[in-house]
Amino acid sequence: MYENLETADNQQNLKRVVIDPVSRVEGHGKVTLLLDENNKVKQARLHIVEFRGFERFIQGRPYWELPVLVQRLCGICPVSHHLAAAKAIDQLVGIDPDSLPPTADKLRRLLHFGQVLQSHALHFFHLSSPDLLFGFESDISKRHVIAVLNEYPDIGLQGVKLRKYGQEVIRMISGKRIHGTGAIAGGMNKSLSKAERDYLLEDIDQIIEWSAGAVELIKKVHCSNLPYYDDFATIATNYLGLTKNNGALELYHGGLRAKAANGDTIMDHVDYGQYNDYIHEEVRSWTYMKFPYLTALGQDKGWYRVGPLARVNNCDSIDTPLAEQARVEFKQHSANPMVHSTLAYHWARLIEALHCAESIKNLLNDPDIMGSDLVAQGEKRFEGIGVIEAPRGTLFHHYQVDENDIVTKANLIVSTTSNNMGMNESVRQVAAEYLSGQELTEPLLNNLEVAIRAYDPCLSCATHAMGKMPLQLELVNAEGKIIDKLVKHSNGQTERNLI
């Protein structure tokens, strides 16, 4: 591990390099490197530079507004917040997950599979494929999806259509692309009509085929660059996520499972309603994003990673055949019980996308999704906790309400927050192993962004801020004078000003 690079000694004698903000992630992040006179990295940090209190925004609102309101937290994963909030407010009307009518449960799962599919497609095809197909240090003019469309037109177009299909699933179920009201307390507000079901069935075989092709593509990219892909930004960590009762991959509802870096089980089948007993959050002075950790292991050893890599590592199987076959190949490529390669996030992400596509087909062929038993009611409660596996990882929504159904307390732990330490460690690994001692150039610095992007971070969610995307690198010498400056403007244009 690279914790020794979190805080350098004698900082006043070091050069500072800033990547501000990190591009192709959602939100506003900044990387700083402190270098000595030989360009050796002495400190590396991923900072979150803005903060907005979304929890405060929620307080004082009636609970039934939450599934719609929380979607405005993020333009990338609104459905994940919608469903996590819905699971929490189910409990406020006395409904536990097992008591949800089967039609409502399956519609929510279908909605979630659509969301994860479109989010994973966006990330891989639009944001990461330029790095993966053209190389991390390729000409900056190539590192974008338009270049992918030009040079790999079939892959680019498949990415567009996969994302579009996932959004059509969302639109059919919730009535709108965004701000939909599909999930309500205790169930869903509508089922699918036969026409809507048939419309989605028309393309699903093609979607599965493209998803399977994407898994093959990333497997080829990854395995043709071994051992580089297995080493770059790689850190051995704990992993957290939901699984089914039988240990299979679960994205909508299950028990919490945590595994150690050596594959040993730290905890399993934990009721997420008790999450406060198992997970705490630490604050550090240099960033607004918190650092969650497993209480049993403490702050130093208890941090963990979440998201596709964690889920595919943690589960014992996947209950759809093509994704299961892909999972087995994924695990077999590594000699270790757990795959720690940070770039393997991409591979795991596409296995999940394939699982989503297969699961969507299964659910579309289940008559329950056209059923009419949509809502259950129970005894009012004053506290609700909803947890879901969002595209980027485990997402916690926790609410308390008063006698008048007004939210008095809200706590959200978003996926990117759980990956905070992992992202910082990956940045340090890349800084120490790939940058240290070299003259820093934009292509070299892109390596840091590649490491961060593998996590598909949503800094907007993690900090509840909305960022713009200019990029600024400053090289400052030991006397504190700026000696070089690279600016990437918000329209993507880059210029270098030698001072």
């Binding site: 405005r72 333009g75 338009i146 469309l149 177009l157 567009v160 965004i178 509840h464 329209n491």
Partner: protein, 162 residues
């Protein structure tokens, strides 16, 4: 079946003046000719929105803008590889470029109505100035939709007095 005219607003209702576009759509929701005009809204533009341009005769994008120096601004869009697609939020010109790249044909005539916004903080209502700007933009759009012909829309660029 795609309707010939698309009005596409983007922005987040809970981020102050970023709501200008969606609020303008909200006003027109029940006033437009549903046989000829489709309205769509999203948080931000992304690559797949290129597919929403298929089989259209006219497209109007509506967005809040801090760069707008008047209450609103009406322009014709050109496909442009401006690299905004390196982020989660693309410009409308970049969406047109994607359309051109994947369809191998020119996009339909597309226009952008930018409405001046001042403050975009989470949980804020529209600023006072944005409320005024919204009313002016609504009047402009009402006039625009009286004649859904490219010549008329192009003429409004010249008449765009704010």
């Amino acid at each position: 079946m795609h309707k010939p005219v698309l009005i596409f607003a983007y922005g987040n209702l809970s981020r102050g003046d970023d709501a200008l576009g969606p609020l303008l759509l909200e006003y027109f929701k029940d006033k437009i000719d549903p046989n000829n005009i489709e309205i769509l809204s999203d948080f931000q533009l992304q690559i797949e929105h290129a597919l929403d341009l298929e089989n259209r005769q006219l497209v109007l994008f509506i967005d809040a803008s801090v760069a707008c120096e008047t209450a609103f601004n009406f322009t014709k869009l050109l496909a442009l590889k401006d690299k905004s697609y390196t982020t989660h939020a693309m410009t409308p010109s970049a969406v047109l470029q994607v359309y051109q790249d994947i369809k191998k044909q020119a996009p339909p005539p597309c226009f952008l109505l930018s409405i001046q916004g001042i403050s975009f903080e989470l949980g804020e209502d529209l600023s006072q100035q944005a409320q005024i700007n919204l009313q002016l933009a609504i009047q402009f759009t009402e006039n625009l939709l009286t004649n859904n012909q490219i010549n008329f829309w192009t003429q409004q660029i010249e008449n765009n007095i704010t």
